[in-house]
């Protein structure tokens, strides 16, 4: 479990530490005793069948969902009800959603400068420069003046990534960033994510793109029924799955 395929870029510093975390929706026990440590620069892919709690888990990391037991420590700060802590952590953690969730009433550029200006209190000019740099980075700078509704899905998702990057997050969370996209567009987005990974960004990514997992993940985590069933380096994970459940899942996923 400790073998990582490209371990050279990893540092010892712990970025995310989840200890014995449980979560319920009403009476439904959706996450059960989750324990997870993510180091600086580590790239983690989370997979598992639908409804297994993958989204819920990563949404707990920036407190979009509230957990009821256990601890989540992000960059040394514990997530609790203290609203200041949470705002602090959300500034450090970028999140990209399946459905992009761009703000349709703002231009691409305004989408990207909104948080730097209002949360980080940057002057507009500086914020715009940074934003343009990141838009350049995701190769979409020429669309800066357009509205999200005028872009294709892949372009929208890239804007969403740029928007997160504008806050200079230390960790990026991705929740199935490509699953709402048409096949041609998936590649656009994956390329951007691979680029990010190469630059050493700490990433936690829920995805079923096994190609991506194989290529960039330091560790693949398999979840089922609210629990982490197995975690391992990608080649180990794909070639020697330990659990029956994992094998079944992989057989379905890799078949098509």
């Amino acid at each position: 479990m400790s073998e990582m395929n490209q371990a050279n870029h990893l540092s010892d510093e712990v970025m995310i530490n989840i200890i014995g975390m449980h979560k319920w929706y009403g009476a439904f026990h959706v996450l059960k005793d989750i324990n997870l440590t993510v180091h600086r620069g580590e790239r983690i892919v989370v997979c598992g069948p639908s409804g297994s709690g993958k989204s819920t888990m990563i949404r707990c990391i920036n407190h979009l969902e509230v957990h009821q037991q256990g601890k989540i420590i992000v960059e040394g700060t514990e997530l609790n009800e203290d609203i200041k802590n949470i705002e602090q952590i959300r500034r450090e953690v970028g999140m990209v959603f399946q459905h992009f969730n761009l703000f349709p009433h703002l231009t691409v550029l305004d989408n990207c400068t909104l948080a730097p200006i209002w949360v980080n209190k940057k002057p507009r000019k500086e914020a715009e420069e940074i934003a343009m740099a990141y838009l350049e980075r995701v190769q979409i700078a020429n669309q800066a003046k357009k509205f999200p509704g005028q872009l294709s899905g892949g372009q929208q998702q890239r804007v969403a990534i740029a928007r997160s990057l504008c806050m200079s997050p230390k960790i990026m969370l991705f929740d199935e960033p490509t699953s709402a996209l048409d096949p041609e567009m998936i590649k656009e987005v994956l390329d951007v994510m691979i680029g990010l990974a190469e630059e050493g960004m700490t990433m936690v990514c829920v995805t079923h793109e096994m190609g991506f997992a194989r290529k960039v993940a330091d560790r693949v985590i398999f979840m089922d029924a609210g629990q982490i069933v197995e975690q391992n380096a990608p080649h180990e994970f794909f070639e020697n799955p330990m659990h029956e459940r994992t094998k079944l899942f992989l057989s379905q996923i890799l078949d098509h």
Binding site: G20, H22, Q69, N80, I83
Partner: protein, 392 residues
């Protein structure tokens, strides 16, 4: 689970739950003290001005007359009675208005969808005209038009010795039941019960044998025919009190005063224009595919309407329709403008003025309207819940 693994609690002043609680407490305090401020002012003001506020006045003699009352009312009745009279009159216009507006609205709404171009356009014209003119103006207009158009009692329009129409109102004969008339009533009740049983039987027969039965015609025959037969057998034990011109006015019979007519006409015409739009959108909301599917199964167009289109249209129609009914009821308070003795005119008007009990009277009036609207919204929620489409 070890308790040290519970998420740590932040200090209380940083806890959003506690903050929310504080915010709400402050809000409650503000609202509460605002209400108290008003209450206090009112009490001191009333006291300073020597007004005593209580419900005692409701038992005192009113001393003024009211032109139309559904209960026995004379100037010796109490102020409490004026409340009842006003309330009943409000209910009367509302109920008549609701029935007529529904019928007219339905007709106009269907006309709007008619394949006949002229009819559809005329219906559209009707809707756009009456929807965009203030109701109060229409009330005045109709009152004025009604008054202008009608002759004095001496030049009355009449239909034989039975019906009269003049500026004082419409007059009908009033039935005065004879001694054995109750038997006719009894027959009617028996006939209705019989119809209920017959409908059940017809339904069951259809379930079992598939044979359909002309329930509507037979029931009509039964409900109308049986009492009529009984009536004739008993030798027509019913006399009519005919209205007749005595002195200044027609006396006897049943009369409808022009204020009521004008108000009902205005409310009906105004509300029907909204109802027509509701009906139209309701029917349009049922997709064309539904009608096609039904007719390709061989259903007759009347069955398609009854079994497929209406049940689906109702879902869309009922909620806005109910709020139109509510609006009509609230709008009936415009009666005050033309002197129809509804709750606002009689109770919140004359009675308030004679007694000076503004707080109590306005409070009671508002409570009446409020309870009505709450009642109707509860009904509506219940209905919505009942007919909500089941989806995945």
């Amino acid at each position: 689970m070890a308790s040290d693994l519970a998420p740590s609690k932040p200090p209380w002043h940083k806890n959003p739950a506690i903050r929310a609680l504080c915010f709400q407490a402050v809000l409650l305090l503000l609202v509460g003290s605002f209400l108290y401020f008003i209450f206090n002012n009112t009490v001191t003001n009333l006291e300073n001005r020597g007004i005593t506020t209580s419900f005692a006045f409701l038992d005192r003699e009113a001393g003024f007359g009211i032109i139309q009352s559904l209960i026995d009312y004379s100037p010796t009745s109490t102020y409490g009675d004026t409340f009842i009279v006003g309330l009943l009159n409000t209910i009367l216009v509302s109920v008549i208005g609701i029935i007529l507006a529904t019928i007219l609205g339905l007709v106009i709404g269907l006309a709007r969808l008619s394949r006949n171009w002229l009819i559809a356009k005329l219906a559209g014209l009707y809707i756009e005209t009456f929807r965009n003119i203030p109701l109060l103006l229409q009330v005045f207009f109709w009152y004025f038009a009604v008054l202008q158009a009608l002759p004095s009692p001496r030049q009355t329009y009449s239909l034989g010795e039975w019906f009269f129409l003049n500026i004082r109102g419409i007059y009908f004969p009033k039935p005065v039941p004879g001694e054995t008339f109750w038997l006719v009533g009894l027959t009617l009740i028996v006939a209705i019960i019989a119809v209920i049983f017959m409908a059940r039987w017809a339904h069951q027969r259809q379930e079992q044998t598939g044979k359909q039965f002309h329930t509507v015609y037979v029931s009509l025959g039964l409900v109308l025919g049986a009492p009529l037969l009984m009536f004739l057998i008993l030798g027509a034990p019913l006399s009519w009190e005919l209205p007749a011109l005595k002195g200044f006015n027609f006396q006897g019979g049943v009369s409808v005063i022009p204020e009521l007519s004008a108000l009902v006409i205005a409310l009906t015409i105004y509300t029907a224009s909204s109802i027509a739009e509701i009906v139209r959108s309701g029917i349009l909301s049922v997709s064309h595919g539904q009608t096609e599917a039904a007719s390709s199964l061989g259903l007759k167009s009347s069955h398609t309407m009854r079994l497929v289109v209406l049940p689906q249209a109702m879902r869309v129609v009922i909620p806005p329709l109910t709020s139109q009914y509510l609006n009509l009821t609230k709008n009936s308070s415009l009666a005050a403008a033309i002197g129809y003795p509804d709750l606002v005119t009689v109770f919140a008007g004359t009675t308030l003025n004679q007694t000076g009990q503004a707080v109590v009277i306005i409070g009671m009036t508002m409570m009446v309207y409020l309870s009505l609207s709450l009642f109707i919204s509860l009904l509506m929620n219940w209905y919505n819940h009942k007919v909500a489409l089941v989806e995945r």
